[in-house]
Structures are given as structure tokens and as C-alpha cells.
């Protein structure tokens, strides 16, 4: 699918993040277009979460810029955040609020109309099969239910941009499928979906384009076809990923376990 004619909803420009001497993100530039699902892959500690946090406005970049829906996250944070929905890798949610109260709170933060909030809460609780647990405190939820509650929070204001860090971790196959379908639908409705994942099958099947980050640097961006053309004849994303990020150590591990 060629989306380059669509408007750019996420744009990073020479993004750098240093933690002391450690370079977590090194000069990353990419765009995510409206109607696109963008997969962000990389080994553990490659800088995925740091990049995502800078896009969501949780971390100040050392240098470079991030724009969400055309708004600079540093200079126009409120407009950028209003267009964005974010789901972290660990769903830390207020444990003593019920799911319904949490969603109402998030609706208030986004200055939504009370009636609209109530309607969206009912829709989202039904969608994520949380109706029965909607009035229970969040500390009684399982990990999967908390993950779904975090997703509902990100969706309540119907954002133009959705940034998700490992959204399917801890979800049962049914819920994971639901989320995949929902993200696809959002993209079809014109939203930009940016997600990081370790499950290469999800990235391969769901994403229009994929970015691979390694040691803080973006080493490849493109559609599956474009990534295949970068490799040495590999056809699967797993082979491309291991080839680009260095798969030798995996072979060593397999040898030890044999």
C-alpha cells in the first residue's frame, strides 16, 4: 500500500536521547502516515521504548524534534498530546479506581463532553469485554484486563495517532486478535498506528511499514518488500530481522541448549 500521499501524523527528525554518556537513541528520523500501521522492531535495549516515550511526550529528547499530527511535542505539547493515544508496555493504572472511573477520569483530562464520555465508556467496555468488571477496582483485574483497560484509555478520545508499546503482551489469543483487528480498522479510518512488538508474525501480517532499530540507530525502514530487497535473499521478517540486528548469538544459544 502506498501511503506517502497521505498526511504525516508522526514525524521524528534527527531524534537523539542520551542518558549520561549512554546513547539510547541516535539520530532517528522517520515518518508515519495517516492510514498506516507502522511496526517498530528491535532487540531488547535497542531504544524502542525510549523513542516511543519521546513521541508520547514522556521524555524530553536530548536533540531533534518529534511532531505528532503536525504539532511539535516540545513546543506545542498540549495539541500534540490531544491528538495522541498512548499505551505503555506496563499498564500502571490507578489500582483503587474502577475501570469505568478510570475512563471517566481520562475523558475529563481530554476535556470531552460528559455524555460523549459515558457513551464511549459503554462502547469500549463492551468492545474489550470488560462490562462485568467495569465497576470493580483495577487492582482486582488480571494483567490482560489491565492491558485492555489501558487500551480503552488510549482510545476514549478517538485519537488520530495511536502509539502502543508491546500491546499484545499478556493478552489471550482472542483479545490479541481483537486488538489487531481494531488497530487495522483505526488505520483504515485514517489514523496512524505506531506499535512496537517482539512478535514478528504480528509485524509481518499487520504492518504496512516496519522500522528496525538496533543500538539506538534506525537501521532499516520500509515495507516488507523493501526490507526483503535490503537482505540477502531472506523471505521471512525473522530472517531479515536477525540478519540486520546480528543473529549470531542466537545460533550460539541454540548450540548450548542442544
Amino acid at each position: 500500500m502506498n501511503l506517502s500521499g497521505n498526511s504525516v501524523l508522526i514525524e521524528t527528525n534527527h531524534l537523539v536521547k542520551l542518558f549520561g554518556d549512554k546513547v539510547a537513541v541516535n539520530d532517528i528520523s522517520f515518518e508515519v502516515y495517516a492510514g498506516e500501521v507502522f511496526g517498530f522492531l528491535g532487540p531488547n535495549g535497542a531504544g524502542k521504548t525510549t523513542t516511543i516515550k519521546m513521541i508520547a511526550g514522556l521524555l524530553l529528547p536530548t536533540s531533534g524534534t518529534v511532531k505528532v499530527s503536525g504539532y511539535d511535542v516540545q513546543t506545542q505539547p498540549l495539541q500534540a498530546k490531544a491528538a495522541n493515544g498512548y499505551v505503555p508496555d506496563t499498564p500502571n493504572l490507578y489500582p483503587k479506581l474502577s475501570g469505568r472511573e478510570l475512563l471517566r477520569f481520562v475523558g475529563d483530562l481530554y476535556e470531552m463532553e460528559r455524555k460523549q464520555v459515558d457513551r464511549r465508556i459503554d462502547e469500549l467496555l463492551r468492545l474489550f469485554e470488560l462490562e462485568q468488571a467495569g465497576d470493580d477496582p483495577i487492582d482486582s483485574y488480571s494483567h490482560g484486563m489491565q492491558q485492555k483497560a489501558a487500551l480503552a484509555c488510549a482510545l476514549i478520545h478517538d485519537p488520530k495517532v495511536l502509539v502502543l508499546d508491546e500491546p499484545t503482551v499478556g493478552l489471550d489469543p482472542r483479545s490479541a486478535r481483537l486488538i489487531k483487528d481494531m488497530l487495522r480498522q483505526m488505520a483504515e479510518r485514517g489514523a496512524a498506528v505506531f506499535l512496537s512488538t517482539h512478535i514478528l508474525e504480528i509485524a509481518e501480517r499487520m504492518c504496512d511499514r516496519i522500522g528496525i532499530i538496533d543500538k539506538g540507530a534506525l537501521i532499516a525502514v520500509g515495507s516488507m518488500e523493501e526490507l526483503r530487497s535490503l537482505g540477502k535473499g531472506e523471505t521471512s521478517l525473522e530472517d531479515i530481522f536477525l540478519n540486520l540486528t546480528g543473529g549470531a548469538e542466537y545460533a550460539e544459544i541454540t548450540e548450548v541448549l542442544r
Binding site: 498540549l78 490531544a82 500502571n92 469505568r100 477520569f105 475529563d108 483530562l109
Partner: protein, 588 residues
């Protein structure tokens, strides 16, 4: 996979070998922490150890002297014969040890069995389940047992020394105390499982923490009511006569205590018999509890909860509360929806988490106690030896008029130390929700300010009104006091909130352990200084005008002008100074 190289259980491995291995792990953790700790911490721990030993020696000597003193002929004339009291000392101490270990090991076992998170790991490892339970029970009782020994051994050994008990008494004291501690811990583990069967473990821990904090605080403070100087002979005799009441003929704890006394005094037959019954009962109870607890845990009985909670009516099904349109518009215009949302969320979180409530109730208890003392004194300054200059006494008398405001503000200051100083930190790891939301700094600060200020103000006002009504304060003076509270609390809330922003810490698991670091200490100090200065500005003019014979109302008006300006400036400028830091919170 080659399994030959992996360690596995040897058939017939000793249970106690595993108990030792598991118990040693705790010691290894402690030793490792000690080794890696700072020199200051190491010296502190060593000093603490020496202090405990010194305390033990001191308590022994003191007990010995006291118990000898109780047998002195002069005291017998004053109080009567104390021999029945002395012989009931072991019974009382064993009873106290039983109750103490039962209560304290409940919390520790709840933590060890349900909240520590290592049970699944231990149960899935090749270690006998019994060894795990014995280790958990030992973990639960050892700290408390140590504390109980610290207080009870000197008294029991002092009793032995003062009464001239024979040598067998001393090791038996230790054995009986240890057996009672083990049996009690076993009983406590069953109690924990029964409770967790009905209520969630985390909720039980919260309720327990709340009850313990409030009870210990009340106990520590009520000592201030006692008038030890005026204890009469009858009251002393009555207090001493309470002790033998523990010595009930049917109580196993009384049998245990009497066995020690009988053996100490050389009544071998009765003492030995009672001792055998004690050992049999405690060992039997321990084995029964251990076997039952491990069975209940392993079968899942103790983990599957029987829900007793009534299902709440879904909010959407409830009828909407009517609110006048004009009022709603006004509220929405003044307090925007993000601010309202944060306020409602914070109030719900504070109310529902009992760990917060224990921190919030403490200032109230303190305030009630001080108010009681103020009312009991009749609002008069202490006369002392009557040597103070008349002017000083006059100022003191005028100051006492405002003592109710002072006490109310002290309650407010303590509350704001939690609500405002920790206003941002209390978000913890959930702060990402606020940080990713389109809420600007001013609204965030306004919401946090109101969350701290509004409940404190209403509570302190209510408190002031009650004291003033009891004291018979005039409506004018009450209105002045309420205005003073309104303004000073605004300044204190702003100042505390500003320091809270500076020292914000989102990395905690338990709200009772939110650490604000040096910013927290500085915040408390700064707000205390502000409180003193502003009180001077508010009350100084009124007292001065009254001393010079002028109308108090003029002085109060001047005070309101000076103090009010200072308070509002303090509230505004404190927050203005930290406004740049708010957007960067949570990025460390």
C-alpha cells in the same frame, strides 16, 4: 538436554537441611546488604546491636531491683502482700507474648505467604513443602520473638534472681517461650488463611496497616492524659491486683507460667506435670497447624476466595444526580474538566486506600488530643511558679485566646504535609496518564492545590468550630479565626506543593513509604516557619492593640491585611517558582 549435571533432590534428604538452606538465604541477604552497605549504615547496625545488649543488661538489673523492692517490708505495709502478684508475673508475660506473637505474626505471615511473591517459586522448586512452611513460620516469628525476648527475659530472669529460683528455671523459661511462640505462629498461619479465604490479601494488609498505625498512635499519645504524680495507694494496689487475674485455673498459658514458678521454687511434681502438659500442647498445636496450613495452601483452599462483596450497581444504571444548570456552568467555568477529573480521582484514591487513610487520620487524632488538653486547661496559660512578669503573662493570656486557631492550624499543617507535599508523588507509576494527557502546568498545579487545600480547609474549619463552641468563643472571634485559617492554609498548601514538585518521587510501591528526600524535610521546615511568621502577622497587631487598650477589631483587621497578603503571596510565588519543573516531572 543433559540433566546429569543439574542438581536434584537426593532421596531421603533431611527436612531440616532444607529448612536450614532456606533460612540461611535470609541471613545471606542480610549479610550481603550489610557488606555492600555504606560505612555509616554498618556503624549504625553495630551500634544498634550494642545498644540492644546494653538495654538487655539494664532491663535485667532494673527488673531485679524492682522485683526485690516489691518484697520490701515498707512497701508491703503500703500495698499489702505482693507475693501473688510476683508468682503471676510469668503467666502475664507468657500471655502477653502469646497475644503479641499472634497479632504481629499475622501480618508477617500474610506478607510471607501471600504478598512476598516467592511462594510459587519455592513450591515449584525441589524442596519439601513442609520445609517451606517451617521456614515461613520461623521468618514470621523470629523478629517478634526477638523483641519479646528483649522485654520478657530480663523480667523473668530478674524474677528468678530476686526470688532465688533454682538453676533449672532459667533454661526452661527460654524453652517455654520458644514453644509458645512456635505454636502461636502456627495458629496465626491458619487464621491468615481463613481470613484470606474471605477477603483479598492486599485488602487485609491495608486494613491491618491502618488498624496498627492508628492503635499504636493512640496508645502513644494517650499517655499524655495520665497524671502519674497523683497515683493513690488504692490505685496502685488496684493496678497490682489486675495481674493475678491472668492466672486462670483453666488457661493453658497459666499452666505454662505456673510450671515455671513451681519448678523455680522446687515443687518438682506439680511443676514437671504442668511443664509436660505445656510441651505436649504447644508441640501438638504446632504440628497440627503446620500440617493443616500446608494442606490448605497446597489444595488451593486458602487461595480460592469466597466472594462476599456485594456487586456495585453499574454507574450507567444509576439515575443521574440532578444539578442545577447554572451551578454546573459556574463550576465548569471556574474549575475546568481536567481539574475536576484530577480532584475526583485523587479523592477516590485517597479514600479507598486505607494506607493513605492512616496517614490522614493521624493528624486528626493529634488535634483531638491537643484540643482536649486545651479545653481541660480552661484556656488559661500555665501559672508556673508565678515569677513571670505581668506583661508576659498578659501577652500569654491574649495568645491563649487564639490557641484554638493555633491547634487547628497545626492539624492543617500536618494534613498538608501529606496531601500537598506528596500531591505529585502520590501519583506513583501512574503518572504517565497525566503526563501524556493534554493538561497544562497551571491546571495541574491548580488541581493538586485544590486536592490538598479543600479537604484540609473544611476539616480544619469543622475542628475550629467544634473547639470554639465548647470554649464558648464569640461569633466574631470565630469568624476571625476562620478567615485566618482560610488564608494561612492557602499559603501552607502552596509552599508544601512547591516543595512536593521539587522532590517528587514516583518510584514507590506503598504510599506509606513515599520518600520526598531532603525536599520533603525542607518543605516541612519551611511551612512550619511560614506558619509561625504568618501567625505573628495575623495575631500580632490584635494583641498589641489590645495591650495598648485599643479596639481588638482594628487590630484584627490590620492582622488580616498583613497576614492575608503574606499568605496569598506565599501560595502564588511558591508555585510560580516551580512552574518550569512540572512539565519535566517523571523524566528522571
Amino acid at each position: 538436554m543433559n540433566t546429569a549435571s543439574l542438581g536434584h533432590v537426593q532421596p531421603g534428604s533431611s527436612l531440616w537441611r532444607y529448612v536450614w538452606k532456606l533460612s540461611r538465604l535470609r541471613w545471606v541477604i542480610f549479610a550481603s546488604e550489610f557488606r555492600r552497605g555504606r560505612l555509616r549504615r554498618k556503624i549504625g547496625i553495630l551500634l544498634l546491636g550494642l545498644l540492644v545488649l546494653a538495654g538487655l543488661g539494664f532491663a535485667f538489673v532494673l527488673s531485679w531491683l524492682l522485683l526485690r523492692f516489691l518484697r520490701s517490708p515498707q512497701l508491703v505495709l503500703y500495698l499489702g502482700d505482693a507475693s501473688s502478684f510476683l508468682s503471676s508475673v510469668p503467666v502475664v508475660i507468657l500471655s502477653v507474648a502469646f497475644i503479641g506473637i499472634l497479632l504481629t505474626s499475622f501480618g508477617l505471615l500474610l506478607q510471607a505467604l501471600y504478598l512476598a511473591g516467592d511462594m510459587d517459586f519455592l513450591l515449584s522448586s525441589p524442596v519439601p513443602i513442609r520445609a517451606i512452611f517451617i521456614t515461613k513460620l520461623l521468618q514470621a516469628i523470629l523478629p517478634n520473638f526477638g523483641l519479646i525476648l528483649l522485654f520478657s527475659l530480663p523480667v523473668l530472669y530478674g524474677l528468678g534472681a530476686s526470688q532465688g529460683y533454682n538453676a533449672l528455671y532459667y533454661p526452661l523459661v527460654l524453652i517455654v517461650l520458644s514453644l509458645i511462640a512456635l505454636a502461636t505462629a502456627g495458629l496465626s498461619s491458619l487464621l491468615v488463611m481463613a481470613v484470606v479465604r474471605i477477603f483479598p490479601a492486599r485488602r487485609v494488609a491495608e486494613v491491618l496497616g491502618f488498624v496498627v498505625a492508628i492503635t499504636s498512635f493512640i496508645c502513644s499519645q494517650t499517655g499524655q492524659f495520665a497524671r502519674y504524680a497523683s497515683v493513690s495507694s488504692e490505685q496502685a494496689t488496684q493496678a497490682l491486683s489486675m495481674m493475678p487475674r491472668f492466672n486462670l485455673p483453666w488457661s493453658p498459658l497459666a499452666w505454662a507460667g505456673r510450671s515455671l514458678v513451681d519448678i523455680g521454687e522446687g515443687r518438682w511434681l506439680s511443676g514437671g506435670g504442668l511443664l509436660l502438659i505445656t510441651i505436649g500442647l504447644t508441640v501438638g498445636l504446632f504440628i497440627f497447624s503446620l500440617a493443616t496450613a500446608e494442606r490448605l495452601y497446597y489444595t488451593g483452599w486458602a487461595s480460592v476466595q469466597v466472594s462476599t462483596r456485594k456487586k456495585a450497581t453499574p454507574r450507567s444504571a444509576r439515575p443521574a444526580r440532578p444539578r442545577s444548570a447554572s451551578l454546573a456552568t459556574l463550576v465548569n467555568r471556574v474549575v475546568t474538566s481536567p481539574v475536576q477529573g484530577i480532584i475526583i480521582k485523587d479523592f477516590l484514591m485517597l479514600r479507598r486506600d486505607l494506607r493513605n487513610m492512616s496517614q490522614l487520620v493521624t493528624p486528626l487524632i493529634l488535634g483531638i488530643l491537643y484540643a482536649f488538653m486545651l479545653i481541660r486547661s480552661g484556656g488559661e496559660p500555665p501559672a508556673g511558679r508565678g515569677e513571670a512578669p505581668a506583661v508576659f503573662m498578659e501577652i500569654m493570656k491574649n495568645l491563649m485566646v487564639y490557641a484554638n486557631v493555633g491547634i487547628s492550624l497545626f492539624v492543617g499543617w500536618t494534613l498538608l504535609g501529606r496531601l500537598a507535599l506528596m500531591g505529585f508523588s502520590q501519583e506513583g507509576k501512574n503518572y504517565w496518564l497525566l503526563k501524556t494527557a493534554p493538561v497544562n502546568t497551571a491546571r495541574l498545579l491548580a488541581a493538586k492545590f485544590l486536592v490538598a487545600y479543600l479537604p484540609t480547609l473544611f476539616l480544619v474549619w469543622a475542628f475550629l468550630i467544634v473547639i470554639s463552641l465548647v470554649q464558648g468563643v464569640t461569633p466574631g472571634a470565630l469568624a476571625f479565626g476562620m478567615l485566618v485559617v482560610l488564608l494561612i492554609l492557602a499559603g501552607t498548601a502552596g509552599l508544601n506543593l512547591a516543595f512536593g514538585v521539587t522532590g517528587a518521587n514516583f518510584n514507590w510501591e506503598d504510599p506509606r513509604r513515599i520518600s520526598q528526600g531532603s525536599a520533603g524535610c525542607l518543605g516541612a521546615l519551611a511551612s512550619m516557619v511560614f506558619l509561625g511568621v504568618s501567625l505573628l502577622l495575623f495575631f500580632g497587631p490584635a494583641i498589641l492593640v489590645k495591650l495598648f487598650g485599643g479596639p481588638t477589631a482594628i487590630g484584627q483587621l490590620v492582622g488580616l491585611g498583613l497576614g492575608g497578603a503574606a499568605s496569598l503571596a506565599c501560595a502564588y510565588f511558591s508555585l510560580w517558582l516551580v512552574r518550569g519543573r512540572v512539565p519535566r516531572l517523571g523524566e528522571e
